[in-house]
Symmetry: C2
């Protein structure tokens, strides 16, 4: 039964020493997930003096955005997580490296090597060169990611970043042929009237403005969860869904074989933060993604996508109508309203604190109810 | 029989309209070859108004220097030729791009990706990314080089740049184990007391200061001349050997199956420019390379390496003793002394003019002597 909205925990006065989970696992996309997780890490570090040991944070990153550019393997969401958590991100844009230059891409365009719509800075190129080199040597994406994470100091922060899968998986967007300009339209007879384009082309080049009829994840039939992913979900004390895109970030991770089952089966509470605030995505094009799969852009509707495993849900205080809606549609879900705009480090930490606090209360309620009701 | 040293042709008063060869083929290494060939192209362009059509210049570039760095294929000599002939070279150092920045390499070193002794600028990286991408797609090195040459405007200059071979070939230097610092020495029993290191490691990292006992070209057993190479030698009106390193640049090209035979068999005169001036290499470590193969560092001794196909040889006027020496040792070789320091564009053009002029006189002498003596 849902609790009433509580006063959110303040990051300056942690409420949880002694009850804090020690193993937290999060599923994450790029910018929104990375910023939230940086706030979560900061909040957990603030608690540290009163805890017995460090809280281990495992992040399962979406790799459906991955793309080959200029012959190099680019993992946009993993890179955004690395740069944000490692202190190298361009804060203004939320992705890519700070203080970038663009000599390499300028030259590649002079050589006729496109595309020109995906901006890659020189520092960022080094990451892709390093990743591609290691993959070519036979390292798995998990191994590569661990090596990149070493350089960004993630182990010292007690953060483990895992790709959702080691197999190359790429999200494509199915767009009606008629949505392209006349001059660019292919012969409809040959294409059944629609075309699959890489997610990045749809998201970055077309700014999600082309109508999407559905998403297809190429390679998923040969994919399995990367080492550690399922165990991190099953063995966590708390699973968190940051305010990442529910369709093309978290939604893609959920398609990896075993992930959804692990979330259903874990004894840890699963707490999510709504990426929809005041009926709109805070950032990015989640509304276009939700449209494509026929789901309303609302905090309540997103919770519905996670209905089979979600235990707690933070919605924006501007969306407190979702509390009532979800009380009817998902009566077992604990929904709380909280300010959800990550307007700065303090605000983000406060959201993270609220999520942890909700997770702690859910876990305590489970303990009180006994093991038999853990996954009810 | 050698002609006496002639007054060199001045680039401002071309002496050759109507007699100029229309197809010139050159074998070349990096800096010295590239600078000479830029001067040759300028000289030929100066002649153009008085010629029936453009002189086609085919350059066969050494690829023994090629190396994988950071998982990318680097072709130092081809790149130096591209940048120099295309107007993008760093004039001061003679290789790499002008106005470089080093963000990518700085980041790669932060990731622990070496080596740190081979400087790659950001603009230069774009070339290696482009080459590697195209090679990975299945293009041959010839095809890749042609595409890179397009961007540098070589076709418009009537320059065709060919790699000596499309197969990956890498020159290695055999160094006695004892030459390495004690701490770096491997177990001699396991290595027979010597070690093969990549040519670039010897040349760039160790500045050719480690004693070399010989050179070994890995991959040469599976190599064949790239498309067009042998035809360009056989079908030329003049073959030129620029003042490139006779051992590790031109010497490596000569090892490609068929190249030496084509040079012996071509009806075109083969004219070389000594890379040794005043008994020393003008630049680079040709003396160390000659030492390694037991050849004296002199203009005469280098001509001896080409004795089986060389028709004309320009030596520096400071080395005019080579004229007498070679009159005794290679009586069929026409040797002329000329200022050979490429101190600026005019001086370089004058050297190129002298080489073309010598080639024209050799060709005329052959015509006068009749076809039967062409390859005598």
């Amino acid at each position: 039964m849902p609790l009433m909205p509580s006063t959110p925990a303040s990051p300056s006065t942690p409420s949880l020493p002694g009850r804090c989970p020690t193993r937290i696992t999060a599923l994450a996309g790029g910018i929104g997930g990375a910023r939230f997780l940086r706030g979560l890490r900061a909040y957990l570090d603030r608690l540290a003096p009163s805890l017995d040991g460090p809280v281990e944070l495992t992040i399962v990153g979406n790799t459906g955005d991955d793309i080959w550019l200029h012959g190099l393997r680019v993992s946009p969401d993993l890179d955004t997580l690395l740069y944000t958590l490692g202190g190298g991100v361009h804060e203004g844009q939320g992705w890519g490296r700070a203080d970038e230059t663009f000599a390499v891409q300028t030259e590649l365009l002079a050589y006729g090597s496109g595309p020109d719509w995906f901006g890659l800075g020189d520092r960022d190129f080094a990451t892709h060169i390093m990743r591609s080199r290691l993959l070519a040597q036979g390292d798995t994406l998990s191994q590569v990611t661990a090596r990149l994470a070493d350089r960004w100091g993630l182990p010292e922060q007690h953060i483990r970043l895992l790709p959702m899968t080691d197999q190359p998986v790429e999200t494509h967007v199915i767009v009606p042929e008629s949505a392209f300009p006349d001059a660019e339209q292919a012969d409809s007879a040959a294409t059944d009237g629609e075309r699959a384009i890489h997610f990045q082309e749809w998201w970055v080049r077309h700014q999600a403005a082309l109508p999407a009829s559905r998403f297809v994840v190429a390679g998923l039939d040969r994919a399995s969860a990367a080492p550690g992913v399922l165990d991190a979900i099953r063995g966590a004390d708390l699973v968190v869904l940051p305010p990442s895109n529910p369709v093309v970030s978290i939604g893609i991770i959920l398609l990896v074989p075993g992930v959804r089952e692990a979330l259903r089966g874990t004894s840890a509470p699963v707490v999510g933060i709504s990426p929809i605030v005041a009926g709109r995505p805070v950032r990015g094009h989640a509304d276009a993604c939700l449209d494509a799969i026929g789901v309303e852009t609302s905090a309540a509707a997103v919770a519905g996508l996670y209905a089979d495993f979600l235990d707690g849900w933070l919605v924006a205080d501007s969306d407190d109508d979702a509390v009532d809606t979800l009380r009817r549609t998902q009566p077992d879900l604990v929904v709380e309203a909280h300010p959800l705009l990550m307007s700065g480090p303090d605000a983000t930490e406060a959201i993270a604190a609220a999520a942890v606090d909700l997770g702690v209360r859910l876990a305590e309620r489970r303990r009180d109810a006994g093991p038999g009701s853990a996954t009810a």
